[in-house]
């Protein structure tokens, strides 16, 4: 049930106001198809009588009711905006490779709010800030610890992109045997060298990437029936495979 006597955040109000204005513009645009003489809404300016309130974290507003004196006057002016201007002034939405900070439960609400205030809403934003050597602790009044946050976000990003093994090939040869692992998201963290253990022994990882691993193995370490391969691709991801070697 909608409530009329509930305070609202300016951001939510503006979202709805823009939606209403867009709806009106769309209707007028449809009208323009059939009528030669049509008009477009160029600017809308809304002056409202409101009472602001502050709960310690957010500023919210409630509209003045009949008989209430001393309301604040707030004017919101919306002008026309072209699609090119939207592209210039709007942030790209969070992509599927990225992680929005809102979706990471381990980050407390205060930290999320501090990050939003400095324009950081995703892992990529945080990386961009770090690349430019911005002292994020200073920018957020010491509310955000970069190292701690980076770990949480990397963990969340890894959780969204689990490793997926599709094929494993044994290449047995006298000059040197290898295991080829193919799949998706096998290694994602470029700052960490993956570790591979084959049948309990540290194996030689010769090449690695997002979609493949090339592991040098000693033929003498191979078992006839079952072989175990463990890959630690980053501090948050370990995957273990039981492999049967079938001679063709």
């Amino acid at each position: 049930m909608a409530s009329t006597n509930k305070s609202w955040k300016l951001e939510s109000f503006l979202d709805s106001l823009i939606v209403e204005l867009d709806k009106a513009r769309e209707t007028l645009a449809v009208k323009a198809i059939n009528k030669p003489l049509t008009y477009a809404v160029k600017d809308v300016n809304l002056e409202m009588q409101l009472f602001p309130s502050f709960d310690g974290n957010h500023v919210e507003f409630i509209t003045a009711r009949p008989g209430q004196q001393g309301a604040s006057k707030i004017g919101i002016q919306l002008g026309s905006i072209t699609d090119q201007q939207i592209r210039k002034t709007t942030k790209e939405p969070v992509t599927s490779d990225d992680v929005s900070i809102d979706l990471v439960d381990e980050i407390d609400e205060d930290t999320k709010q501090s990050l939003r205030k400095i324009g950081v809403t995703s892992v990529e934003d945080l990386n961009e800030v770090k690349k430019k050597n911005v002292d994020i602790e200073k920018a957020s009044n010491r509310k955000v610890n970069y190292a701690k946050l980076a770990k949480l976000l990397s963990k969340a990003r890894r959780g969204n992109s689990p490793p997926n093994v599709k094929n494993v090939h044994f290449n047995i040869s006298k000059s040197g045997s290898t295991l080829q692992v193919e799949g998706n998201n096998l290694v994602l963290d470029n700052n960490y060298t993956p570790v591979v253990v084959f049948n309990g022994k540290l194996a030689d990882l010769r090449g690695y990437g997002k979609e493949n691993l090339e592991i040098g193995i000693d033929e003498r370490d191979m078992n006839k029936d079952e072989n175990e391969l463990v890959v630690v691709s980053d501090p948050y991801t370990i995957y273990k495979m039981n492999l049967n070697h079938r001679k063709q």
Binding site: W8, F13, K23, A24, Y39, V41, D43, Q49, T63, G67
Partner: protein, 91 residues
Amino acid sequence: MNDDYLDEDFMFLSRFIEDMAAVDEVLQDSYMDKAMTMNIESMETRTPCELHIEVDENNQVRIGAIPPLYYVETTVMPVFHHITLKIVKEK
């Protein structure tokens, strides 16, 4: 109640703006046996309005508006907000 209305008194702000922009009439008259037509190039209007702002269970804000129901001075006057619209003819 149809989709244009938020409740029995207030229409959605979009509908309110659409109605305000409905000036697509050509004025016709004749002078010295010649037909003359005129139309509006642009119009700016500032009008008081009553607003009805409600918050639903998902914290979505819904905005309703109507022109003032009456202007007569009463003991408890309704709150008048103001809306200014600039409407231009599409080329």
